[in-house]
Structures are given as C-alpha cells and as structure tokens.
C-alpha cells in the first residue's frame, strides 16, 4: 500500500469507500508538548521503550532505539517504563 495518495480528480477515486493509503501522512508530532530525549550512555538497548510505545514510532537502528519525532505524541510512556531512566522529557520550545 502506498503511503501517499495522489488522485488527480473525482473520477480517479475508488468506486466505494476503501482506504488506499496509510495514516503516515498524518504527522502527529505536532501534538507533542514534551519531547523525549534518550541518553545513549544510560540506554542498555533493552527495547522496553520500543515495546510499549503506542505510536509505534521508536525505530530500531543498529540495535538501538531511535525516536521518530514526526509521530511521537509525547505521552512519556517510554520515559516512565525505561528501567534505566535513560529517557528525559523536555518541554517543547525550550
């Protein structure tokens, strides 16, 4: 399935209400008022943050968690569940 939909006009729309693209077009990062920052020195790559993130927006890159801020809503579950207290929530805009 394509992430982006590009219909040129009404006639190109599917004949019934079927979804043809992913909500990835909806960058929910703008909802966030707190920004999670991972301290790489404290992180032990247990991936508990990845496991619990409701946005499925923590990617695994080279065996380490990397937060995709395009989608992170700042719920702070990752910071709460991290056993090493390696994630700090910083106020956006500061």
């Amino acid at each position: 399935m394509d992430d982006e939909i590009k219909y040129k006009n009404v006639k190109e729309l599917p004949p019934m209400t079927v979804s043809t693209g992913l909500m990835l077009v909806n960058k929910t990062g703008s909802w966030r008022s707190l920004r999670p920052i991972i301290d790489e020195d404290k992180c032990i790559s247990c991936m508990i943050c990845w496991k619990y993130c409701p946005e499925a927006c923590i990617d695994i890159v080279d065996d380490k968690p990397v937060i995709n801020l395009d989608y992170c809503k700042g719920c702070a579950i990752c910071a709460e569940e991290c056993p090493k207290e390696a994630i700090e929530m910083l106020e956006e805009g500061k």
Partner: protein
C-alpha cells in the same frame, strides 16, 4: 539486543489515538500476534475514529467498519465469505470496545459464540463509552466517575464478568490479557489462532482521557490492575480455568489513587472496593480448583 515481541508493525504511526491510549497498544500487539493474513472487523468505538479517515487507514491489513452492535455478526459473515472462496488460512478478528461488547453487541456475540463461528473476538476494555464522551457501560467498575455517573451518583453497579458469560456458552477458548504484559497477550492470541471455533479475549486497555490519569500512566495502571487483582490474568480452555499470574497482591488503593475517576471516593467506598476485589479473587481461585477436578 533481544526483542520479546515480533518486530513486524502492522499498525502504522499517524493514527489518531489520544496520547498514551491503551486501546492502541492492544491493537499493535494483537496484529503482531496474528500477522498479515488477518481481517479486522470494527464496530463503532474509539478505534473507528482513531484508525484514520477515508481514504487513509492505520492498519496494514483489511478492515471492515460495521455498525455498533454487529461486530460478531459481521465477522460471521466475513468467515462465511472466506469459506465460499475456499480460503481457510485467514484470521477473522472482531475488535470492539466494552460498550460494543458488554452492552449493545452482546446479542450478536452470544449468537456467534453459540454457533461456534471460527473467529477471534477481542474486547479492548476502557471501562466506558469513551468515543462519545465517557458514558458508563456495564463494564464501568463500582465507584467510578463517568459523565453519566457524576461524583454524587457514582457508578453503583458491578462490572459484568464477560469471560464467565462466554464460558457459559461452552466457548473453546476465553482469556483475559493486559497491555502491560504484551508477551502474555501475544501468546494468548497465538493460542486463539490455533484453536478452531469461537475465541474471546478480554484486554484491559486504560484510557487517560476517560480515567482521568496522566498519559504516561497507562502501562503502569494496567500492571497495577493485575498486581492488585483488580484484573487477574487467566485463561479458560474448554471450561478449564488457569490463572496465569498469582501476584502477591497490592492494596487496591495503589491502583485507584492514580486515577481521577476515583478521586471522590471515601475510605468506606475504597474499603468496599477492596472487599469486592478480594471476594472476586477467591471466586476465581475456586473456579480454577473446581475445574481441575
């Protein structure tokens, strides 16, 4: 690095669930368990909305939206269509809230389980009609505030026991699960997948908006619900009960005090709730013991 859950993401980012939504986490785990060959059937509930708007979706598997009371009957239809097409390797998962399960969807569910339709029915339970503004359901626990049970007339009825209702239909498999224990949740969905006939999974899915708690507390609350015996983890296979976790129980107050919906309750009401939890746990232990004999 060792992952304790399958890596594949069949639920995409960009969905419209509230910050910290337990119902979203439940779906993410369920699809990790069931995999791509799954058709999801969703009646009116938060998931109808948060899933995305036409022509977008946040599920990488087919999804059929249906009317509020019809999750189980629509799923039966999907299974019948698959049978006609000769496809017997596709999972059909009904996915409904507690209002759509305990209340309005009960009749269709009872019929489908009686017919022993080959499907998995999941209720993600946020203990109220959250999508329409936090009205009480028959899953709302005793003592809770909702917009239809204000603090001076808080919820007085007890939460229905859906698993027992399913067991009394002679359902092949029924289980409770929690977003705080995704490995257990995934194991149960895998088991459900391997059993033919009707399966019922009841997932406690804390809701920050409706429970009046911080968004970072949903996993913690789901865990406390298990540790306080508010929501025990157990499964029932052909009538045989197995309790998956027998925690050294914590006082219910630890669970209640983190939620604004219980802020008004007096010490007496808190004590009553504790008594109900203890009685419920004793009953469950007895069911396990009796069904072993």
């Amino acid at each position: 690095m060792r992952l304790t859950l399958p890596e594949q993401e069949l639920m995409s980012s960009g969905h419209k669930g509230c910050q910290g939504c337990g119902g979203v986490m439940a779906m993410r785990y369920a699809l990790k368990a069931l995999g791509e060959d799954t058709i999801v059937v969703i009646p009116a509930c938060c998931w109808t909305v948060l899933e995305g708007e036409f022509p977008y979706t946040s599920l990488r598997v087919p999804l059929l939206h249906t009317a509020f009371e019809t999750a189980a009957s629509a799923s039966s239809g999907v299974r019948a269509a698959l049978r006609v097409k000769g496809k017997d390797d596709v999972n059909v998962m009904a996915w409904a809230g507690d209002g759509g399960t305990f209340d309005i969807g009960m009749q269709a569910l009872s019929g489908a389980v009686e017919r022993n339709e080959d499907f998995i029915y999941v209720c993600y339970d946020n203990e109220g009609y959250m999508n329409t503004g936090i009205q009480r359901s028959s899953s709302t626990p005793y003592g809770a505030w909702t917009t239809t049970t204000p603090v001076d007339a808080f919820e007085k009825a007890h939460k229905k026991n859906m698993v027992d209702i399913m067991v009394s239909h002679d359902i092949p498999y029924a289980a409770t699960a929690s977003i705080a224990y995704p490995e257990d949740l995934i194991r149960k969905l895998n088991k459900a997948k391997s059993i033919e006939g009707a399966k019922f999974i009841h997932i406690l899915a804390p809701c920050p908006s409706g429970w009046r708690c911080a968004s970072n507390q949903t996993v913690k609350l789901a865990r406390l619900a298990v540790e306080t015996n508010v929501f025990p983890l157990y499964e029932v296979e052909h009538g045989k009960y197995t309790i998956n976790r027998k925690p050294r129980k914590k006082p219910a107050k630890e669970y209640l005090s983190l939620q604004g919906r219980f802020r008004h309750i007096s010490d007496e009401v808190a004590a009553e709730i504790q008594e109900q939890i203890d009685a419920g746990w004793e009953k469950l232990l007895k069911k396990e013991k009796d069904s072993m004999e």
